[in-house]
């Protein structure tokens, strides 16, 4: 009798537990209707709790938006703004940061399988946003948003297809990949800014002789060493019609004199030990610390490295970092690129309105000012309502090179989508598995594959 009583009591408790569990689930589900994935569903009670305790609970949304981006694209300052955005709107932002060498494959797999995050980060480029992301199908038209008119025309052009704006710039695109150097170290060694490749090699030799590694390079990230190829502007300077000829499939990378020289010089730099012993395993994130330590003298970086080094070592003066253009192929033109990491809203998202609110928040005067103040490398975000923060050193750098030429990512079709593959080829070149000529031949092949897949008439 006693046993059956206990059993009945336990059964009753279990049934009640199940019922209350189901009830709770139902209420959570109804409150969390637009939630996209399991991870966000788990966060649902926390979101609900925040919403209940806030004063303006009625006006706040109980939604979590997901935002996937490559490492280094989402700054701490953006996440801090994300918290403020949550406080104001109740919409939580789940940042999914992916190692840069794996990002592109993961992003394209997610887009192509129709299971992307609400917002995804992607490189802008009027060519690749169509051929690679197919933004007209996979991204939301943002032309009608309140901030759309504030995006600088040159940056907006790289984010537009068919006259519609599909993305929002994340970073300062006025900055370019240039050789950042330790000014004090250069002064102590009696070095001056090189104006061609030979002078650059002389500078590297003197630095090396002083027991310092001349250049910090980080091949393991898969993308940074490819930035050296922005010296390809030398090929455009030699023949201004070359990018168009490449786009019309009337020219190839293979056999181009400047490009062959560029890759050969890059290999030579590695072979001569200008990049040290660990350039294959170094990581981009460690660049500021490596410059701060004095172990390295230079690194290919965008403007703003001074502030990042200063953040690592406050005794290192922000203005102790100067810049000169990438001197491969004796280049002396500024390699401009209005393409850069951008935010896109996935067309299959269930939280398009919430994602639009986030983009609107990030493009507000206050947010742009906050990002400029708190991210060292952001001097001038590409919005008309963003403040300017060029230091004298950076301004001097831009003034020194009056000639500006667009980089291949912006001017040549199917170059940007092949970036990581080119990185793998260059890595093979450093290891001696491929010659510079073979790398160029492979770039032609990679571009042809992309063009064929996109049914480009120029490749038929």
């Amino acid at each position: 009798m006693k046993k059956s009583l206990v059993a009945s009591f336990l059964s009753l408790t279990m049934i009640l537990g199940m019922l209350s569990g189901c009830g709770q689930q139902a209420s959570t589900a109804s409150a969390q209707a637009p939630v996209a994935d399991e991870a966000t569903a788990e966060e649902a009670p926390a979101v609900a709790e925040t919403a209940e305790t806030a004063d303006t609970a009625d006006t706040k949304e109980d939604v979590t938006i997901t935002f996937m981006a490559s490492q280094d694209w989402i700054q701490d300052a953006e996440m801090e703004l994300g918290e403020k955005f949550t406080e104001e709107t109740g919409i939580k932002v789940d940042y999914q940061i992916v190692p840069s060498d794996q990002y592109e494959s993961l992003l394209m797999t997610k887009i192509n399988s129709g299971e992307c995050t609400d917002i995804f980060g992607g490189q802008s480029s009027k060519f690749s946003i169509v051929t690679q992301f197919d933004v007209e199908k996979n991204a939301v038209d943002l032309s009608g948003e309140s901030w759309a008119g504030n995006v600088e025309p040159a940056a907006a052009e790289e984010l537009s297809a068919g006259g519609k704006l599909y993305g929002q710039p994340i970073q300062d695109v006025s900055a370019c990949w240039a050789v950042a150097y330790n000014i004090k170290m250069f002064d102590e060694l009696g070095l001056s800014i090189p104006t061609n490749y030979k002078e650059f090699c002389d500078v590297c030799e003197k630095i090396k002789a002083a027991g310092i590694i001349p250049i910090y390079e980080c091949v393991s990230d898969g993308w940074h060493h490819v930035c050296w190829t922005e010296a390809a502007v030398a090929a455009t300077k030699a023949d201004s019609g070359y990018p168009d000829a490449l786009n019309e499939n009337k020219a190839t990378f293979e056999g181009n004199k400047e490009l062959t020289t560029m890759f050969s010089q890059l290999k030579e730099m590695a072979d001569k030990g200008y990049m040290g012993d660990n350039y294959m395993s170094n990581q981009y994130a460690d660049a500021p610390a490596s410059i701060a330590s004095g172990e390295y003298a230079m690194v290919l970086y965008n403007q703003g490295l001074g502030a990042e080094v200063n953040a690592v070592d406050p005794s290192f003066d922000v203005d102790n970092i100067g810049y000169f253009v990438n001197p491969l192929c004796d280049n002396q033109a500024l390699n401009v690129n209005y393409c850069g990491p951008s935010r896109f809203i996935f067309s299959g998202s269930k939280n398009i309105d919430a994602a639009k609110k986030y983009l609107e928040f990030m493009a507000s005067d206050e947010s742009l000012a906050y990002m400029t103040e708190n991210v060292g490398k952001f001097n001038q975000l590409p919005y008309t309502n963003a403040p300017s923060a060029y230091s004298k050193v950076v301004q001097d750098f831009y003034d020194r090179y009056p000639e500006k030429i667009a980089v291949f990512q912006a001017s040549v079709k199917y170059y940007n989508p092949a970036w990581m593959d080119i990185g793998a080829d260059m890595s093979a070149m450093f290891l001696g598995e491929m010659t510079p000529e073979e790398v160029l031949k492979d770039i032609d092949k990679l571009r042809a594959e992309q063009a064929a897949a996109a049914s480009d008439p120029a490749w038929k």
Binding site: Q102, S105, N112, S220, M280, S427, A428, K445, A453, S455
Partner: protein
């Protein structure tokens, strides 16, 4: 046999339908797609015959190296995991102090996430600041401090070594179970006959754990052919063009760049290899079985 006591065939229908719809059919469709130009860039699908297979086997491409890498990875890790697992299993079935603790320590890597192990080892094997090279330098063995994951000579070996370290505990556990199931009577009889340790292993332990070894071999081969996460986390197929690229990292990249058809063709090639390996292994394993 009483026919009334056997279950009718339609009892299996549910399982068969589920298996056909969710396993067999998608596989078949996948093979079918490898004969098309399926890609992310076009909604149109055209039959292209063996074009994708020509690409896979073309000398201009790296795919043969990728297939060779996958097979080498499978063969080497299977052999070494079995050999090291067997040695550890033999050692850890003796009467030693803190036996379960030792077994637990060796088994522990098997329960950790492969991706986490990959990330930890990426840090340990860093040539400049990694734990391994720092240790070698601190004891004066600078010559042994190598570029484990970023040199074309060592990267593949390093990836395999980490995978063996991760998987050997699991194999050891299975083999311990096999060794403990051998009756002690055999060993006592052999001892009376004057057999030494090696002879006991050679004539008692080894023949009696062969079925267990066959099981661990099958598990290792299947894992090796399908390996993805360990390579992805440690090298992502690099350094260089395809130093450590294996089949599933290549398929993942092809899908990432929207070239689905080549990706499915690669999978189909692997499917055929797996069928042949599977048939061969089943034949070898069932060769000495007695049919009751």
């Amino acid at each position: 046999m009483n026919k009334n006591k056997t279950y009718p065939g339609y009892f299996a229908a549910g399982a068969l339908i589920i298996y056909f719809v969710f396993f067999f059919l998608p596989g078949l469709i996948g093979v079918g797609y490898s004969f098309t130009d399926w890609s992310a860039y076009s909604d149109q699908l055209h039959y292209v015959g063996f074009e994708n297979f020509k690409t896979v086997f073309s000398s201009d491409e790296n795919y043969m190296k990728i297939i060779t890498n996958t097979l080498s990875f499978t063969f080497i890790t299977t052999v070494l995991k079995n050999v090291i697992g067997l040695i550890l299993a033999l050692l850890l079935t003796k009467s030693i102090k803190l036996l379960n603790m030792h077994r637990g320590i060796v088994f522990m890597p098997s329960v950790l996430s492969t991706l986490i192990i990959g990330m930890i080892f990426k840090s340990i094997l860093d040539p400049k600041a990694g734990l391994l090279n720092s240790f070698f330098r601190s004891v004066g063995l600078e010559v042994l401090a190598k570029k484990w994951l970023v040199s074309s000579e060592l990267a593949f070996g390093s990836v395999m070594a980490v995978d063996i370290w991760r998987g050997v505990g699991y194999i050891m556990t299975i083999l311990i179970a096999g060794i403990l199931s051998i009756s002690s009577d055999y060993y006592e009889a052999a001892a009376i006959d004057g057999a030494g340790g090696w002879q006991k292993f050679r004539y008692i332990t080894f023949p009696l754990i062969l079925p267990t070894l066959a099981t661990t071999t099958v598990l290792n081969v299947i894992y090796g052919l399908k390996v993805f996460d360990m390579v992805y986390a440690l090298t992502n197929g690099g350094p260089g063009k395809a130093t450590t690229e294996v089949l599933y990292t290549a398929v993942f990249k092809k899908f990432g760049t929207g070239q689905y058809a080549v990706g499915t063709a690669l999978s189909s090639v692997m499917f055929v290899i797996m069928i042949f390996v599977g048939i061969y292994m089943i034949r070898v394993m069932t060769r000495n079985e007695v049919v009751e």
